[in-house]
């Protein structure tokens, strides 16, 4: 019976550094066999890093891992798989053009030919695929499956390899609420079968609903461990953030004329799946409208349609009463659209360029012959205003810290005094000081009369900045709140698609 008492896995004193950043500081964690354990924390708290260490994808700089009481050292995922640890990634590790069966077989073919591997994979499918809904078709091409099914294939892959410990990294990030519930059922069934599950997430609702125990990470450290039944979402939120969200402290909005009007906007993605479903909203000058919602509910598509990177299927977007659909990105920017990208290194800036070259990106007043001295001077002024360090215009953009990079991007976009600013996750991956400065600048822009559409996964940020909050769920605007009259529970319910306001 002592075997049952031995934890499925133990992590002790795990340290991991990426350059100057300590992603994991002396983390210790115990997973009880047959339990579902939650690992929570904000974005950047170190959850994914820890999960990847447990899975063997990364090696810790210090610390010990024990599986079933025995110390192990994983040189690669292969070692982890051999030890019975399986990972279900947030971004699926599936080979899209291949079938379900082929994906299951990969790495576990059992022989030079494929016949044995197929038989074994079919057996696993029959034995373990008991998730709610229709059974998986083994010969279906993965690229044709809905996301929930793809995730099931991922889970089955891990199980097929004999995983006793299953790590799931933000599994509901791409699921609808219905699919999420189905997933939870599957997880509980697996736990009852003796599998151990580590659920890495920042969604407190899930944690409360499905886990037995939970560990809270903040800035790379363990700040608390609880049995789920002994705690609640409020306490966890507080532990995650470190302080209870402060009440909003901004001046009331002085509303100007209607600037942005979106009507019945419908967007389908490349695979034909509906991402925005007749969404409508309006933003006036002098106000900040925030879009809250679990990522994957249409936020990115909304931004891309607004900015001009995606063509919507139908609907209308009017800025200062001019129809934007049909205009190029450049034409929209000329009309006063500003954009702080969600992913600054992908869309917001060119990492290989210097800071001053990045400051020129997307600025229409740039003459044919670039004026180096003038541009450098203008940037120096901006760097001073935004407290960017070090204040060197010629420095490589990639060598600035995340917070300074974001400040540079925000400085550029706000410097054009846009009529409408679309800001996606403006303080993601940014230190507290920089975040505060960016928030202040956004409020200043709003007070100057611009309209701001804020898309954020950070509830605290939304509370600080928003005059109105719209909830996007499943591609539709599920409801509207104001921070003064709403509370987190209402917001959470709207975001989960469980209520309407």
């Amino acid at each position: 019976m002592s075997e049952r008492r031995t934890p499925a896995a133990e992590l002790r004193g795990i340290e991991k550094r990426f350059g100057p950043v300590r992603a994991n500081r002396s983390i210790s964690l115990t997973l009880a066999r047959g339990s579902i354990h939650g690992l929570v924390g904000e974005n950047g708290a170190g959850k994914s890093t820890l999960a990847q260490i447990l899975y063997g994808y990364l090696r810790p700089d210090a610390g010990e891992i024990r599986i079933g009481g025995r110390p192990v050292a994983f040189g690669s995922p292969r070692d982890a798989i051999a030890a019975g640890v399986g990972m279900v990634h947030q971004h699926f590790m599936l080979v899209e053009p291949m079938t379900v069966l082929e994906n299951l077989m990969l790495g576990r073919e059992a022989g030079l030919g494929l016949a044995e591997g197929r038989a074994s994979a079919l057996a696993t499918l029959a034995r373990l695929d008991r998730g709610g809904g229709t059974a998986l078709d083994p010969e279906a091409k993965v690229e044709n499956l809905p996301i929930g099914s793809k995730q099931r294939v991922e889970i089955l892959k891990a199980l097929h390899r004999g995983a006793e410990i299953l790590i799931l990294d933000e599994p509901t990030a791409v699921l609808t609420p219905l699919e999420a519930t189905a997933l939870f059922g599957e997880l509980r069934a697996l736990a009852e079968h003796g599998k151990t599950i580590l659920l890495v997430t920042h969604r407190l609702r899930e944690v409360i609903e499905v886990t037995d125990a939970v560990t809270v990470l903040r800035q790379g450290e363990v700040v608390a461990e609880r049995q789920t039944r002994d705690t609640d979402a409020a306490e966890l939120a507080e532990l995650m953030i470190g302080r209870s969200p402060s009440p909003p402290q901004r001046r009331p909005a002085r509303l100007g004329p209607l600037r942005l009007e979106i009507r019945e906007l419908t967007v389908r993605d490349g695979a034909g799946i509906l991402r925005l479903d007749r969404a409508s909203l309006a933003v006036r000058g002098g106000e900040i409208v925030a879009i809250a919602g679990v990522a994957g509910n249409g936020q990115s598509e909304l931004i891309e349609s607004l900015v001009g990177l995606t063509a919507p299927e139908s609907g209308s977007i009017r800025l200062d009463d001019v129809e934007l659909i049909g205009l190029t990105v450049r034409e929209r920017r000329l009309r006063g659209l500003g954009h702080v990208a969600e992913d600054r290194l992908r869309l917001g800036a060119v990492a290989d360029f210097s800071a001053v070259e990045n400051a020129l990106l997307g600025c229409e007043q740039v003459p044919q012959f670039l004026r180096r001295a003038a541009n450098a001077g203008a940037l120096e002024a901006a760097m001073a205003a935004y407290d960017v360090r070090p204040a060197e215009p010629e420095r490589h953009f990639a060598r600035f810290s995340g917070g300074n990079q974001q400040k540079l991007v925000v400085a550029r976009e706000l410097g054009r005094t846009p009529a409408l600013l679309v800001a996606g996750q403006p303080t993601r991956g940014v230190d507290v000081g920089a975040a505060e400065l960016i928030h202040n600048r956004l409020l200043e822009l709003r007070d100057a009369g611009s309209a701001i559409l804020l898309i954020s996964a950070d509830l605290e940020e939304i509370w600080l900045l928003a005059d109105r909050i719209l909830v996007l769920c499943g591609g539709r605007i599920a409801g509207e709140l104001t921070p003064e009259t709403a509370d987190e529970r209402q917001l959470g319910l709207l975001m989960a698609g469980a209520a309407s306001a």
Binding site: I81, L94, V95, P97, M98, E109, G113, L114
Partner: protein, 318 residues
Amino acid sequence: MSEAGTEFLSILAATLRLATPLVLAALGGLFSERSGVIDIGLEGKMLGSAFAAAAAAAATGSAWMGLLAGVAAAMLLALLHAYAAVSQGGNQVVTGMAINVLVAGLAPVLATAWFHLDGTTPMLPSAARFGALTLPGFASLGVFYRQVISGHNGFVYAAALAVPAAALLLARTRFGLRLRAAGENPQAVETAGVSVSAIRYRALLLTGLLCGLAGAYLSLAAGAGFTRMMTAGRGYLALAALIFGRWRPVPAALACLLFAFADATQARLQGVALPVVGAMPVELVSAIPYVLTLLLLAGFGGAARAPSALGVPYRRDG
């Protein structure tokens, strides 16, 4: 048999002969590209193999030694490509280019140094070459069999067999499954616990083997020794055929046959009026395969979907 008929049969026979190095090289390129490594160095591998095969055959008097040397040379070049592209994460196009240029220079230099002729190897006696094989049933199975099917070099039959072999390897074996996965989503392969580097190295060795056969064919069977630039762009033609065949063994082989057919008819088309086009200037016939491939790339005839991870060096983090 009518004169036109005999003429046609001899064109068919010529097509098979001309297609052989193309098919072998195209299949070679298939394996490397399906695993995710761009290979425009087919030309260089073929040339290197042709030289090594001719040199070894001239030195030892044995065609089989020549074959061995040719294949070894091509595999060595493939390893170089693998090292630069897979282990060093270098630009795969540039590596292929480098190998082509390097071999184009190295082969004549070594040939001159070793054989004291200007950049060529000595003419090989027929003992040091591969001759035609007569298949059983020669006499009885009809003139088509006699003229077209039988009487070819061993390489031709090897190329013909290589096509279904490659298809089977790709679709029905563990190696093939992992190779295809590596070309589409190397991260998925790595997280499944399989090494992408190992797969790509193996794929490139196979490329070397096949290109080696192609090159050896040129100098030991189709020709009688090595001369400068004797591959004459066949490596690029094979690449075009591979793309035209959408990176699949059988369509690629058919494309090779098509291109070879164009080549075989070229000399005989001079002054002949074709339907629609009129009298096609013979110099332009050599451009036909490329124009066809471009048309395909332009989207006529459906999209050509390359392996998703093609050309992107895969690097493990952490």
